[in-house]
Symmetry: D2
Subunit: 188 residues, 4 copies
Amino acid sequence: MRRWRRFPWEFAPVSELAREPRPPYVAVIGDGEPRGPDAHRLLEWAEEIGHALARAGATVVTGGLGGVMRSASRGARGAGGMTIGFLPGADVSEANEFVSIPIATGLGVVRNLVVVTSSDVVVAVGGGYGTLSEIGLALRMGRHVVALSSWRVESDHRIGGPYIHRARDPREAVALALRLAGRLPLTT
Amino acid sequence: MRRWRRFPWEFAPVSELAREPRPPYVAVIGDGEPRGPDAHRLLEWAEEIGHALARAGATVVTGGLGGVMRSASRGARGAGGMTIGFLPGADVSEANEFVSIPIATGLGVVRNLVVVTSSDVVVAVGGGYGTLSEIGLALRMGRHVVALSSWRVESDHRIGGPYIHRARDPREAVALALRLAGRLPLTT
Amino acid sequence: MRRWRRFPWEFAPVSELAREPRPPYVAVIGDGEPRGPDAHRLLEWAEEIGHALARAGATVVTGGLGGVMRSASRGARGAGGMTIGFLPGADVSEANEFVSIPIATGLGVVRNLVVVTSSDVVVAVGGGYGTLSEIGLALRMGRHVVALSSWRVESDHRIGGPYIHRARDPREAVALALRLAGRLPLTT
Amino acid sequence: MRRWRRFPWEFAPVSELAREPRPPYVAVIGDGEPRGPDAHRLLEWAEEIGHALARAGATVVTGGLGGVMRSASRGARGAGGMTIGFLPGADVSEANEFVSIPIATGLGVVRNLVVVTSSDVVVAVGGGYGTLSEIGLALRMGRHVVALSSWRVESDHRIGGPYIHRARDPREAVALALRLAGRLPLTT
């Protein structure tokens, strides 16, 4: 898998900027305050996923707050990566300390749409109803979803377009996400 | 079940208006262009549901366009009911002819949030990814969902709050919806 | 000026519903908590405008809360009219008691876009920055604005499309609004 | 004026990231397709403003499309700066070639709220009704606005909070914006 140079504009003349693709954006979504016996494991998984995505050159996109959002951002920053956090409110100081590009949207619950639409692919780690709505919005906007210990969703009707791909562990989740972000065929 | 007087303000002095509750608002969501072998049946069900809701005094809320939205509105209007349609665009003429209160939101895909949040309970009839996102948003906003031949949704984690209630036929869907809208206990 | 029958669907068979136009929707916008020496006068004007709009058969649209929104709704209901209130939150009980169709949007500040886009014309009575943003959004969405003791807005550049029309009193504001809602020529 | 290090996370251990402030975000708003005799001048001004903001270490935020948005981004990138572009649609390829962080919001016209809310201060260069609505939203969300050959806006009522600051040329616009972004007192 090729690596993206992280900040190409530092080295390229303006005339060449247009030809540089941006790195893949991968959203990591999940509970802002996970509870129950699985909570600790979900946070560890989110951090591992963020770290591996950043190492592969991807930008990690989250909702910018706590829990899974913070762990994924922490993992990515630990690997030198860039993290974007779309906050619901108007105050940028709500962002967790591992968000490098904090975006105060002022959108409230509508900010969830931006998290998934701005990304090439979405990884869901656990999660409650907020995560379910983001999964639905992601599919609605044409983005594939990788689910790790997250929602199972089935319909009586045939649905075309993107899918939910179930991963067994963080490693598989990252491999799937990078493949889907690159729009490579889903074989091997 | 008690019936709501439909337009109480016609008969009541302004000083008494505050005490009249509004009728229950029930959203009916589903595909704007259902296809496949089930399409005809889904549209019939939506019309039957709209009709029964209106007969019980409920206001039927939809996304205002075709398919399930139009059939539910048609059923409600046939029973003398009121129908609200939240359109994605800025042009009110996009509404189907059975919407009595057409609302041009200008919100695009964000209008789905308004459809479910403005309602006391949501009935999903079949549906694709748009419907899945509305189900997720409804639960996220604290609204119960009644599903008829629609999405099955499961999580590995315990989730509190509202639920998806599966109905076997339109009759049961309406009974469940009216009970949930009235916040009556879910027994019997 | 012709009067619209208020609830045509009560009397018409379903097959004829499509041909009935909906009544004009007129938004009345302004401060939710007006202060200063003008506050009382602005509220009186809003009530007078709501009353006159409803008498002419128009539906009054507001943001559903207090101040100018409440006064305009109160005026309209006093004349037997229908009032729609788009609330920012998810709780319908936030609506003032003179809203007949309360819509809990869940949109936060974005609900302002729905107030103006859903209406045929917008009347601004006084108002602060929220009102200024609604005036801008109304013009952006192609709606004319009638301003009574409200914002004066000028550009160095030529702008096509709708305009801000300044009214000297509530009577003139209503006459202008009804003419603009009916898309009649602005003569006389 | 102090300069911000552009990408502090490249050099700092994760434990210190929390203490680094992000650079100031300055939105540059204006017409996506300026016409008339001033068009060329407005585009030159936008480019000059973008360039000077980036030289001072600010991140330039725009709506990501053409006209003033493209010129401001081009100026900023020419100075080695970072540019964020919030697109209305779901397709990142709509961004102009000078956007380094393109965000496909899927929000349609609602994306304007994100442009101004995410920024510390807003610079308006010319502009039509879209720009007027962004100015209103910026003030509504508590952001100061610097106007260069843009809208003049006046109210009959006293309004507290942020203001529109009129600049005579791009140089003054940039100086004002940087001062307001830093929340320094507005003296000289």
